[in-house]
């Protein structure tokens, strides 16, 4: 039995294709990209050894400092927004709508699978000022307020971005957290209700502690995605106005492919990787500690 289940040739035949493609297309390029960080130039112009220049440039580059700050700001705001809206929705599904929630769950989830660019173009038009007054500004006008130049101002552009990304993903987090909430045993809730807990107190003292593990994994998943955000920003604002909404991913893309600076681009990519590993580790550690303390 051992021989058949542990047959080396079969293992090789089954594993080799996946491992080979994965190694060639992902692992080797990762290491290769590390190598690029000590070079200057691009595939078209050729490479020169640059030592640690790219790293010293990284730490003194105000554009990178801005991009890093924006990445962190975006990740915190959007992660909190996504998980919070998702959680409120999932509570709505489980405790209020109950069996009627299936249709609403399905509808609210749909934007999750829409192409990001389609969503971004749609939101550009929704928040448009001129030549057409978009629905959002039309609504403001109806209340007697002035139209707002949504995408032309850094602060407003961030608001539109936040609204769009939360609109796009709240259905996903709602379904994710919903799966956690329906796992809370009904008798625990019943017991708490008999003890007089209801509404907010039930949620705060029973539901949140019991769904804490799912909340944490949602947070980790969300922050991992938001730190790597590219599609929605590239399509909605293109990083603008100016570079006001440029995260590290977009800075890396621009540096590498618009300016043809591979070495520096690879250095930014490395910084991004380190950042996302650190953040995941941090959340994981803190959540572990909290869980043991109960």
């Amino acid at each position: 039995m051992r021989e058949v289940l542990g047959d080396r040739r079969t293992i090789l035949v089954l594993l080799a294709p996946a491992l080979a493609i994965y190694t060639l297309v992902m692992l080797v390029p990762m290491l290769w990209s590390l190598g690029y960080t000590v070079f200057d130039g691009s595939v078209i112009s050729g490479f020169q050894f640059a030592g640690l220049d790219n790293f010293s440039r990284l730490f003194s580059d105000p554009k990178i400092a801005d991009a890093l700050w924006f990445t962190v700001k975006y990740a915190v705001v959007i992660t909190v927004g996504q998980v919070l809206f998702g959680y409120v929705l999932s509570l709505l599904y489980v405790f209020v709508l109950k069996r009627a929630s299936a249709l609403i769950r399905t509808l609210v989830f749909f934007p999750v699978v829409m192409p990001t660019v389609a969503v971004a173009l749609l939101f550009q038009k929704l928040f448009e000022v001129a030549p057409q007054t978009g629905p959002v500004n039309a609504l403001l006008n109806a209340f007697g307020l002035e139209s707002v130049n949504w995408l032309g101002d850094p602060g407003n552009a961030f608001v539109v971005l936040a609204v769009m990304d939360i609109w796009r993903s709240m259905g996903f987090y709602a379904v994710l957290l919903y799966a956690g909430l329906i796992d809370i045993p009904e008798d625990v809730l019943e017991a708490a209700r008999l003890d007089g807990a209801s509404g907010w107190r039930l949620v705060r003292n029973i539901v949140i502690p019991l769904s804490f593990p799912v909340l944490i994994s949602s947070l980790i998943f969300s922050i991992n995605g938001t730190l790597k955000v590219f599609d929605s920003i590239y399509a909605l604002t293109g990083g603008g106005p100016g570079t006001a909404t440029t995260p590290l991913t977009l800075a890396m893309y621009r540096t590498s492919f618009a300016s043809g600076d591979y070495g520096y681009g690879a250095t930014i990519a490395l910084a991004l990787t380190v950042l996302s590993l650190l953040v995941t580790l941090l959340i994981f550690k803190t959540s572990r500690r909290d869980l043991t303390q109960g």
Partner: protein
């Protein structure tokens, strides 16, 4: 991610509803009144989700004149005006074709070799399989920006940037880590005795994989296929980086280009182009929404 699955492997796969609440004792009119704010919240939610989509579809029927001179919430004057769709279809059909040609071969190859690898890592018994699984997990954690530059160099020097091959290859590889990891998790649920029995009956492990594992895993494979389909179809970063010619653009990269081509001022065709792409996804989603939702949630918790 190295997170231990915080939800039991299959708990998130079911759409179990809670048991029906016990019948209420009395129904008072007060109850309906108290629920009024709640109905308002649900209505607001539905409007905020649905109105942008409805507005999008309506826009696809409007003429340029209506866009510029009628209020934005006005209905189109002529619902039989399909000119916008006609204008958009030429390029959009090319984008759809490119996406199809890039995504489906990648999806097929990835599923076959990913399932085989998951089988080798979970059912077969050998030293070092946990290490290999961890190596695959690295691919889930590290941002794709880390692999773009070397890959572009290779594709460029091999002269592949004039074809769809870079997309097919890259999609296959980037989809593998999650697929292998999920398949390994799903295989864990099949008792190894099943395969031991098959072996006693004289089946080789390859035979067991084809005749037993594949049929038993049909649902899991389909769910993963569906989730990965959406990831690949909606990818922008890879499509943008590796397609240099207009004729090769996928749905996402093409839509971005579309506004450029017609200028931002050409509303109708842009709306129609977005609309076609959303409808394609909607058609798939309408049939498979429960599976899509479950699959995506499963991928997230384990990913």
């Amino acid at each position: 991610m190295t997170t231990t699955p915080l939800i039991a492997p299959h708990a998130d796969l079911r759409t179990g509803e809670r048991p029906a609440p016990r019948p209420r004792r009395r129904r008072r009119p007060m109850r309906t009144l108290r629920k009024l704010p709640l109905y308002a919240v649900v209505a607001l939610l539905l409007v905020s989700v649905l109105y942008p989509l409805v507005w999008l579809v309506l826009g696809a029927f409007k003429t340029q004149d209506e866009f510029l001179n009628s209020p934005t919430w006005a209905l189109p004057e002529d619902f039989t005006n399909l000119a916008n769709f006609g204008d958009a279809w030429g390029s959009v059909s090319q984008y759809l074709l490119n996406s199809t040609l890039a995504v489906f071969p990648a999806l097929l190859v990835m599923l076959v070799i990913g399932t085989a690898a998951g089988f080798a890592l979970e059912i077969m018994v050998w030293k070092g399989r946990n290490t290999v699984l961890l190596v695959f997990l690295v691919g889930i954690m590290v941002p794709w920006q880390m692999i773009l530059l070397p890959l572009f160099t290779v594709y460029f020097q091999a002269g592949l940037t004039q074809t769809l091959w870079p997309l097919i290859i890259t999609y296959t590889a980037t989809g593998l880590p999650l697929t292998v990891f999920l398949m390994a998790t799903y295989f864990r649920a099949i008792p190894r005795e099943v395969f031991e029995a098959a072996t006693l009956d004289g089946a080789s492990m390859l035979r067991s994989l084809v005749s037993i594992a594949f049929p038993m895993m049909k649902n899991a494979i389909f769910t993963i296929a569906l989730v990965q389909f959406f990831f690949m179809w909606n990818d922008l970063l890879i499509a943008l980086t590796f397609t240099t010619r207009d004729e090769l653009r996928t749905v996402q990269a093409g839509l971005l280009n579309f506004t450029g081509e017609f200028g931002v001022v050409q509303y109708g065709p842009t709306f129609a182009a977005i609309c076609i792409n959303v409808l394609v996804i909607l058609a798939i989603y309408l049939f498979l929404n429960q599976r899509v939702m479950r699959g995506m949630a499963a991928g997230a918790v384990k990913g």
